[in-house]
């Protein structure tokens, strides 16, 4: 059985082909990062136009790399939300029309469900587990007691972790997306040199806040000259990164005390950061799994896999499902 996944929820146009044995046959991703870099973030209008320009080519390349044609495809899965509505529409309408033209079933998938299941493409998993999604758009803990059942138990109340890294990076002259470069600089610095405060959200111990750290960093930077910032980049990055990740690991410990889990499944773009992974492994006494190479950031293989799991449980969707820019995971799971 060949399953095609299509992901256009934000700024990456992605298509993939997997089979029912979880074998990844192709995962093609066309990044728009360079188009958005000069604006310092994603411009929704540019993103949707680029998706329209790229979607055919990306899908064709995924099929060609898998040595199959559209007629061999058995199931089409597409991200229906949450995300940028103009971007989501391109992927969903393309997938719906392909489904109608080929007479093949379709599944509309929640982007976060894709991330939550992406580590299971390469690792065996057991329930209940705690999903931890850390990316430029999301930072949240999701308790998964059984397949297809989700409870968001904690999340950021302001910036996402990746967003915070991008903003911090911008303030010290690191271009978007800053996360991987901050990680690189951090390896050359002292992580305790700048003691940023540990954030907390009053009366909500399972939630996180990253905007205060950004402000604290601004206060530190104001006291430094441009030359000092340049020379101190390593320690600034190491200290800032440590503060962010310490906040996440401390929250994880509190959550796990209330929501017993057999493992943590870490996903999202920031899950590729080795420091975060190591800090979680060291501070938590259950296994921490992360997605295989290329499956941490937004990708279509996770959508194909999540779509296949749902298709087996529920069958095909009708072609009248809508894109939803904001889509609560719990209500999606209960549909």
């Amino acid at each position: 059985m060949y399953i095609v996944g299509i992901e256009t929820s934000c700024d990456d146009t992605a298509a993939s082909v997997i089979n029912e044995k979880k074998e990844l046959m192709a995962s093609i991703l066309s990044s728009q990062t360079t188009f958005h870099a000069k604006y310092g973030g994603i411009v929704p209008e540019i993103a949707s136009r680029k998706h329209l320009e790229l979607i055919s080519h990306v899908c064709q390349e995924a099929l060609q790399s898998s040595h199959i044609g559209w007629n061999d495809v058995d199931l089409i899965c597409v991200t229906k939300g949450p995300g940028l509505v103009g971007s989501l529409l391109v992927g969903v309408e393309y997938a719906k029309a392909a489904s109608l033209a080929l007479g093949k079933p379709i599944k509309g998938i929640h982007h976060i469900e894709g991330h939550l299941l992406s580590p299971s493409l390469t690792h065996p998993i057991t329930y209940p587990y705690m999903g931890l999604i850390v990316s430029g758009g999301h930072t949240e803990f999701v308790h998964v007691p059984k397949p297809g059942s989700y409870q968001v138990v904690g999340s950021t109340v302001d910036d996402a972790c990746g967003e915070s890294l991008d903003k911090f990076g911008k303030s010290i002259g690191i271009s978007y997306p800053a996360g991987p470069i901050v990680e690189q600089f951090a390896t050359q610095g002292e992580e305790k040199k700048y003691p940023f405060p540990l954030p907390s959200v009053r009366n909500r111990p399972f939630d996180m806040s990253f905007s205060g750290l950004k402000t604290a960093a601004m206060h530190v930077l104001q006291k430094l000259s441009p030359d000092e910032i340049e020379n101190e980049k390593g320690s600034l990055c190491a200290s800032y990164q440590r503060a962010l990740f310490y906040h996440i690991t401390a929250t994880a410990k509190k959550i796990l005390a209330s929501y017993p889990s057999t493992m943590i499944l870490l996903s999202g773009g920031v899950s590729a950061n080795q420091t975060l992974f190591s800090m979680l492994q060291q501070s938590i006494d259950i296994p921490v799994l992360k997605p295989g190479k290329g499956l941490s950031t937004d990708n279509a293989a996770m959508i194909a896999w999540a779509g296949y799991c749902r298709y087996i449980a529920e069958g095909s969707d009708s072609l009248d499902f809508e894109v939803q820019s904001s889509l609560a995971l719990e209500s999606y799971a209960a549909e």
């Binding site: 136009r49 559209w70 309408e93 997938a95 033209a101």
Partner: protein, 208 residues
């Protein structure tokens, strides 16, 4: 049997033609929700009429100008059909599509297409040829034509914008001139077509 999909105006439509004559047309308001169910509506129409896709000789898509979300939806669907079937795909501009609702004997006319809350595109046409396209503010059109009903496309007999002349809504489209030479014809939709949409976006930016 040929099918046309128009998603770029405030009323979206699915039309079926047989031997160049309109045999079915469904129009619905272009709300976000109905835009999102275009493919579903198309599926229902095909099922209700007992039409298998194998009987479709050609798909027509209106590719703008018009509302941006609608353009994106129409082109996404067109690309998918182009990629997954061998049914020839044809793109037609909104001006040409609307011109078909005006008596063929009309030598010259202008067609105004709203593309956002504030502005739209005005084309001067000679028979079925577009002579010029101008991005223009609705406020200006309202002033010149003493009309505040500019949510729908307008057909106006040829005349300068500085002259107050009567207008009429675009009429019913009953035929599809398949041999029309200005219609873009290609089986595969290549990025050039997207470029033309980008040009329209660009024009809007310059006007706005």
């Amino acid at each position: 049997m040929e099918i046309l999909l128009q998603t770029v105006l405030s009323t979206i439509e699915i039309a079926v033609f047989q031997d160049k004559q309109l045999v079915f047309r469904k129009q619905s308001p272009s709300l976000q929700k109905s835009n999102n169910t275009v493919v579903y509506d198309l599926q229902n129409m095909l099922q209700n009429r007992g039409l298998p896709l194998s009987r479709i000789r050609r798909f027509w898509f209106v590719n703008g100008p018009g509302y941006y979300t609608g353009i994106r939806i129409g082109l996404s669907i067109a690309k998918a059909f182009s990629d997954t079937t061998s049914i020839p795909i044809r793109l037609i501009t909104t001006f040409h599509w609307l011109r078909m609702g005006i008596p063929p004997s009309t030598e010259r006319c202008c067609i105004f297409i709203p593309s956002s809350k504030k502005e739209g595109y005005l084309a001067r046409m000679h028979h079925f040829s577009v002579e010029s396209v101008q991005c223009i503010e609705k406020e200006q059109m309202e002033k010149d034509y003493h009309s505040n009903v500019l949510q729908e496309p307008l057909f106006v007999p040829f005349g300068g914008l500085d002259v107050s002349i009567p207008y009429a809504p675009v009429g019913d489209i009953t035929t599809l001139p398949l041999d029309y030479k200005d219609v873009i014809t290609s089986q595969t939709i290549e990025p050039e077509y997207i470029k033309s949409v980008d040009d329209l976006f660009q024009n809007r930016k310059e006007c706005g």
